[in-house]
Amino acid sequence: MHVPDGFLNLPTSAATAAIAAVGVGLAVRGARRELNERAAPLAGLVAAFIFATQMLNFPVAAGTSGHLLGGALAAILVGPWTATLCLTVVLIVQGFLFADGGITALGTNITLMALVGVWVGWGVFRLATKVLPKKLASIPVAGAIGGLLSVPAAALTFAALFAVGGTVPVPAETVAIAMGSVHLVIGIGEALITAAAISAVLAVRPDLVYGARGLTVTKPLQIKEGVLA
């Protein structure tokens, strides 16, 4: 999924880098509202979590396996701004320290996964929660839809970028169809895993799920007479 160096030409890479810089700049401001001064340690741990999650392989069939991209999942768990920052940091570390994704393509990768992946996932999730009944049980379903659409959206954005600034003249429809269809299948996996992971968190710590805020009930602390006696 990570775009390596040399896939897109320089102007396109520079343009996506500019988009990524603006997007991340906005996210830096937005994240202040989502997290207070806890931002750094928590977001850092969430980033490490996303990185580790991407190492967890889900077997598909016949020895092939895929991994979670986590854009939609992160957005629903910690909020879209923080998720953007976390994924950006994950991509920086992957690009520089693990050579996963090219360094000139860093802007492209951030645009695709930290901006398109997170925000499409989050937008679809918000829409879905509006349509679905206002219950806690709707959250994983909405998350699944968000995850389902976020992956092909990122793939199609890549196809569009490739049509504009690809270094090889492959017809745009071929790329779009190939990327779109493959990633729709990946999106189904992403959807199932996102939903299951969110319901796992909802079951244990519903207060941690950002996308479920306003749906959780905080019970007042009760001290019952006679319990201690």
């Binding site: 850092g44 969430v46 580790a52 768990l77 320290l97 090219g102 360094i103 090889v168």
Partner: protein, 230 residues
């Protein structure tokens, strides 16, 4: 030869968009040699490229333009060239990043990012991520061992629900660790800004700057020469 991450980043970026790949490869090889890196380590790191190599091999068949016949298969000339340059470029990029990763301490990398004027929030997130990455990865590993010891085998999509549950648990553990870390920091007087946590790594010395400039200049010269000849 501990070039600090910052310098290496400057070096790595321009050397990626070049034409005469063989010469560039030699340059990188010299750097790797100076840094006394084991070639096997670099080769293993290259494995990460494999999915895109597959894509590159598909390219000649998909691309438009003049077609020629190679070994009985009709392929596109442009696609063939594209696949070749793509492979060369991404291999060079991966190699450059691997050399950076192998020669640079993670703390130096964070400090380099800070000197590159990355927003401070990002630097802080980055430093925490880098610091706790191994902790989280080992926690993942422990959870995998626990699953295995219960007889779990990830073979087909029926295992997804178990694995997704692990993702959820992993998130809770990571988040709660974050809360604990934060509380511990508050207890030690954390006021919302990291004072000296990332200023520890030293800056690049003039000599190292000299090497970096030399490297970039070499790469750029090769590029401009190749454009001139083309």
């Amino acid at each position: 030869m501990a070039l600090i991450g910052f310098v290496c980043a400057v070096v790595a970026t321009p050397s990626l968009t070049m034409w005469p790949f063989v010469v560039q490869l030699l340059v990188l090889a010299v750097v790797a040699g100076l840094a006394r890196l084991h070639p096997g380590r670099l080769l293993r790191g290259l494995a990460i490229e494999v999915p895109f190599v597959a894509f590159a091999f598909a390219m000649p068949f998909l691309a438009t333009g003049d077609r020629i016949t190679v070994a009985g298969l009709s392929v596109s000339v442009a696609g063939l060239w594209g696949a070749g340059t793509l492979l060369a470029k991404s291999t060079l990029g991966v190699l450059a990043a691997l050399i950076l990763a192998a020669t640079t301490q993670r703390a130096e990398f964070v400090a380099g990012m800070q000197r590159l004027r990355l927003p401070s929030v990002l630097v802080e997130i980055l430093s925490f991520m880098v610091r706790y990455l191994d902790v989280i990865a080992e926690q993942w590993h422990r959870m995998a061992i626990a699953r295995t010891s219960r007889g779990f085998q990830a073979r087909n999509p029926t295992s997804w629900s178990a694995l997704s549950g692990a993702v959820g648990t992993g998130f809770i553990r990571a988040f709660e660790r974050g809360e604990r870390v934060h509380l511990a920091m508050l207890a030690r007087g954390y006021s919302g800004a990291l004072p000296e946590a990332i200023g520890a790594a030293r800056a690049a010395r003039p000599v190292e700057w000299g090497w970096a400039v030399l490297l970039v200049a070499t790469s750029l010269t090769i590029t401009s020469l190749s454009w001139g000849l083309a």
